[in-house]
């Protein structure tokens, strides 16, 4: 490959002033051996078409802003090299299953409302709360129990990979439920019982049918499919116990 190669990007665009239907627009973008897909979008915005709208921030796969569908698969555009997508064309669409505000920009509101509902924050034991300057010790083995789930960057690729979220918008979804499991699995946390109502609901773990694509597309190696399906087992166990022993403390 030589510098000076070009690749065609086909972008699905939508604008609120033209609300009837989205349309495809093609751009021929020059690229180098180290160019990312995000840089191609920036080239379009700077040199070819200033009206193209997309989100980005860190350029290094940690902020979770630049997610979009690349050839039908949810990806971070900063995480893909154009040379790996050559010869193209590359099909770019906004993240699936979300309302589109404009071009590649989606509305994250639904996720932002669900995140607090799963109790995705640490609830320390009462004595730890009473002595805030005392360190809460944790062994490496205890940390390893949740560390993978804690890598979530809220990029929402897993929601775009989940047909059940598309079919049932109430579903809390992969990332929120993985973050629920992340805090349940933390040895310093005591908030497990408060998370059970969300877990045991239809829109909690029970809307999942283990398609498993969420885990496959995660750029951070988080395993939401495992988080959700282990919690199905836990939820089913509690269901049976509550059936056999009504009024038991949870």
């Amino acid at each position: 490959m030589t510098d000076g190669d070009a690749i065609r990007l086909d972008v699905l665009r939508w604008h609120p002033d033209r609300p009837a239907a989205p349309w495809w627009q093609s751009y021929e973008v020059p690229y180098r051996a180290d160019s990312t897909l995000l840089e191609a979008l920036q080239t379009i915005k700077d040199a070819l078409d200033g009206t193209l709208t997309f989100r980005w921030s860190c350029r290094m796969a940690i902020c979770g802003s630049c997610g979009c569908m690349v050839n039908g698969r949810p990806e971070l555009s900063c995480h893909l090299l154009l040379r790996d997508l050559a010869p193209g064309p590359v099909r770019l669409e906004p993240l699936a299953h979300f309302p589109v505000i404009r071009d590649l920009v989606i509305d994250q509101q639904d996720f932002l409302e669900k995140l607090p509902a799963v109790g995705a924050y640490l609830v320390p034991a009462a004595d730890a709360e009473a002595a805030p300057d005392t360190p809460s010790r944790q062994t490496p083995a205890q940390m390893a129990e949740y560390y993978q789930y804690a890598q979530c960057i809220n990029c929402l690729l897993c929601y775009s990979a989940c047909p059940q979220y598309g079919l049932k918008p109430d579903f809390l979804g992969p990332a929120a439920l993985a973050l629920m499991a992340r805090h349940d699995a933390d040895s310093r946390d005591t908030g497990g019982s408060a998370r059970k109502a969300a877990r045991d609901a239809e829109s909690g773990v029970w809307d999942c049918t283990l398609v498993g694509h969420c885990t496959e597309v995660c750029p951070q190696g988080v395993d939401p499919a495992r988080a959700i399906n282990r919690n199905k087992t836990a939820s089913a166990r509690d269901y049976v116990f509550d059936l056999l022993m009504p009024g038991r403390r949870r």
């Binding site: 409302e113 669900k114 607090p116 509902a117 109790g119 047909p163 079919l167 109502a197 969300a198 045991d200 609901a201 239809e202 829109s203 909690g204 029970w206 049918t209 199905k232 939820s235 089913a236 269901y239 049976v240």
Partner: protein, 124 residues
Amino acid sequence: MSIRFRRSHEPLFWLLFGAGGLVAALVLPAVVVFTGLIAPLTPHSADAGLLDYARVLTLFASPGARAACAGFIALLAWHAAHRILHLCHDLGVHGGAGLKWSCYGSAAAVSLLAGGLVVLLPSP
């Protein structure tokens, strides 16, 4: 926590689905190989063969074998009913409560029938 959550009764059906799925994963290929390959290939006449009437009745003479047979059929039915219900939903067939009741109702009917029939099996 502004979203209101109501506890799902899915665990009941999921446990039956899981039990059926586990049993099927463990032995179903072997059972199908028996009924579809080993039994037809074994030489048989009117009064001899792996699926000979008297022989099969002898196999299922014990209460344990009868319970296992009925349980196997029932669990396969619950497994299938649960997955077919979700498959319909996935394919855009929204049957609502009616579809749900017919799926799980069929599984319950198969379970009752299987349970009744093993009781009614004649002694060898």
